[in-house]
């Protein structure tokens, strides 16, 4: 015990360097753990962009492509699917709900999604959370009503009752506006941290109405134009949509139905399991994530090397301390033990302080991250993986401590009892 007491007193005597060293180790530990937490939470949050949906169906292309445009609103569909294909599967006996998705228009860089009321009821994200309206209501029978995602409303400062004009196509600067048929904001969704926040939701009828007088991708001119009021009286059943989401009455039916859709005779369709496609997509981003992890490991290594440098640098000034200890009966292994204890203690203090910093950071940043990036950082105890990392850091410190310990051992054998200044 007295050796510990000696080591602690000696450290306390050098507290300024010691504190800086501990702080460097702590920061590197915080960084490593933060990267680890964000990495695993990003993975979880990514995987929970969509939840409760059993199959995503679109025109035949690749699974990742279909997932990207239907769920992440990135890229474009290669082709549309017919409305009766949707109806065919919406009425399928194993299907309990179906959400049609019609994409292709935008508003100031945000995508417009044409869908129906089933969307607000059955679209789930995260751990099975449903969409919630922060204010207003879902769109109803009038085709020209829009429900905004949280980010859209916040970024563009839109309030209920405001009239907005949608643009044709998805370019940020659109040359062609649907300015003859403005939409009224009737609702704003609560934040989800998913692409839903960056989406404007209109009814399929609304989507049909703004394109009613369009032919081959161009708006009608002059008298051929159909006004908003007139379009309200027309049949606004869509002829085609981009994709649809299916919820089945039992998970067991998923594969059977997937095969059935992929073999559909009406037109070439592709049905994917969102979980599988998400995994595939995540593995594409895995490299960047791994690189981040490796970088933070190196930062920890740098922190430990800094500690090693500080201890080695102190050895020369502490020759007197060592010689005094030898003269009062300390054996060379006592001296070596002191130094190993020192490096382990510094690393332990760094790890503890780093953990404290991490939790402090989580408490400070969790609200912001949840709101803006949909990252939920729980205030949980370190998991097994993190304990292993921390244990590894301590072990590395212990091994590094052997170097100054060995030098001090040699030094104290060579110096003996003579006090060198």
């Amino acid at each position: 015990m007295h050796l510990l007491r000696l080591a602690l007193a000696s450290l306390a005597n050098r507290r300024f360097t010691v504190l800086l060293t501990v702080f460097a180790v702590a920061l590197s530990v915080t960084l490593l753990l933060a990267v680890e937490r964000i990495r695993s939470e990003a993975r979880v949050s990514f995987a929970s962009t969509i939840s409760g949906t059993d199959l995503v169906v679109g025109a035949r292309s690749g699974p990742v492509n279909l997932l990207l445009y239907s769920v992440f609103r990135i890229g474009n569909a290669t082709s549309n699917i017919r409305w009766d294909s949707f109806l065919h599967y919406a009425e399928h006996p194993r299907v309990s709900w179906a959400i049609p998705l019609s994409l292709g228009d935008s508003h100031r860089g945000y995508r417009v999604l044409g869908t129906n009321q089933v969307y607000f009821e059955h679209y789930h994200y995260g751990h099975g959370q449903p969409l919630r309206l922060a204010e207003g209501r879902a769109f109803a029978d009038d085709p020209f009503e829009v429900v905004l995602g949280a980010e859209v409303a916040q970024a563009l400062h839109y309030r209920l009752g405001e009239h907005i004009v949608l643009a044709h196509g998805v370019a940020t600067v659109s040359l062609v506006q649907h300015d003859d048929k403005p939409f009224t904001v009737v609702g704003v969704l609560a934040r989800t941290g998913t692409p839903v926040d960056r989406t404007l939701h209109i009814s399929l009828a609304g989507m049909e109405a703004i394109h009613i007088d369009w032919h081959s991708g161009m708006p009608a001119q002059g008298t051929a134009r159909i006004s908003a009021d007139e379009s309200r009286r027309r049949d606004l059943t869509p002829k085609a949509i981009t994709a649809f989401l299916l919820g089945l009455d039992s998970k067991i039916a998923t594969f059977t139905l997937q095969r059935e859709i992929n073999d559909y005779q009406g037109e070439p369709l592709l049905a994917i399991l969102p979980g599988v496609a998400l995994q595939e997509l995540w593995s594409l981003m895995g490299t960047a994530e791994k690189a981040l992890f490796v970088v933070s490991l190196f930062v920890v290594l740098t922190g430990l090397i800094g500690m090693l440098t500080a201890i080695l640098a102190s050895l020369n000034e502490r020759r007197r301390e060592m010689a005094i200890l030898r003269s009062v009966g300390a054996r060379p292994w006592h001296i070596a033990g002191l130094l190993i204890f020192e490096s382990t203690f510094l690393a332990l203090a760094g790890v503890s302080f780093g953990l404290a910093l991490l939790y402090f950071g989580i408490v400070i940043a969790r609200g912001y991250l949840q709101a803006n990036y949909g990252l939920y950082l729980p205030l949980a105890w370190p998991n097994l993986h993190e304990w292993i990392l921390l244990g590894g850091i301590l072990l590395a410190a212990l091994l590094m401590g052997c170097l100054p310990a060995w030098r001090a051992y040699r030094q104290s054998l060579a110096d003996g009892l003579s006090i060198r200044l």
Binding site: H2, L6, S10, A12, R320, E321, S327, A330, L417
Partner: protein
């Protein structure tokens, strides 16, 4: 007479160098205070290293308390030193970050034997330290202070208390008074003699300050003792 320390035909040379020490015979009796005059370069530090078992003799024997140090393993020599020898150095004897009393208690932390002696005589290691420090004129108020907050004279008295705690049979003092002024020098020596006598310890006092020699039971010159140097001197002459 009961001898505590005996050197017989001792020779020592650093690897690859000429013999530095050649001492045919040397005796230190129990309870004796011996002044050993050694100018710098006379092999003084090496001799103290040999007596403390930090170095091993190239030839001959170093016997302390009937134990041949050369026959002990280096760990056993360390233990033997901790148990039976107290050291006082020229200066900077103390660990600055410990309190005065903790510094004095240090040898008892590394030697069970000395801790046992201290407990036997004073009841506890702490009481032994307090008593010794009081005898050496360091008040209770000073005992809790950091060692480096005291004057050099006080620090040397603390070092003496540390050398004496747990009654080692031999106290080796290496120029302990060279940093003190003339007035405190003699006072320090009287205190040291008194405490060595009370503890029954022999004192081997190494210094180049000949004026202190008459205060000791016996006085020797390392230059005369060491034949290796005698030859050196002849060669020079």
């Amino acid at each position: 007479m009961n001898s505590l320390l005996e050197l017989d035909g001792l020779g020592f040379a650093w690897p690859g160098q000429a013999e530095l020490l050649d001492i045919p015979e040397f005796r230190l009796v129990r309870g004796e205070t011996l002044f050993l005059r050694g100018p710098s370069g006379s092999g003084k530090t090496t001799l103290l290293g040999l007596l403390g078992g930090v170095q091993r003799a190239s030839r001959g024997r170093v016997r302390l308390l009937e134990e041949d140090l050369g026959r002990l393993s280096s760990g056993a020599r360390d233990r033997f030193r901790a148990n039976h020898i107290g050291y006082i150095f020229q200066q900077f004897n103390l660990l600055p970050f410990l309190s005065v009393r903790e510094n004095v208690e240090l040898p008892c932390r590394f030697s069970r034997l000395r801790a046992a002696h201290a407990c036997q005589r004073h009841g506890s290691v702490e009481k032994a330290a307090v008593t010794l420090l009081e005898h050496l004129g360091l008040s209770a108020e000073l005992q809790g202070r950091r060692a480096d907050s005291l004057s050099i004279g006080q620090q040397q008295r603390i070092a003496a208390a540390r050398a004496l705690i747990g009654q080692p049979e031999l106290v080796i003092a290496d120029e302990p008074t060279s940093a003190l002024d003339a007035d405190t020098r003699e006072a320090f020596l009287q205190l040291l003699f008194g405490e060595c006598r009370a503890a029954g310890a022999s004192l081997l006092f190494v210094s180049h300050d000949q004026s202190l020699a008459p205060l000791f039971d016996r006085s020797l010159s390392l230059v005369e003792l060491n034949r290796a140097h005698a030859e050196d001197h002849c060669n020079i002459l």
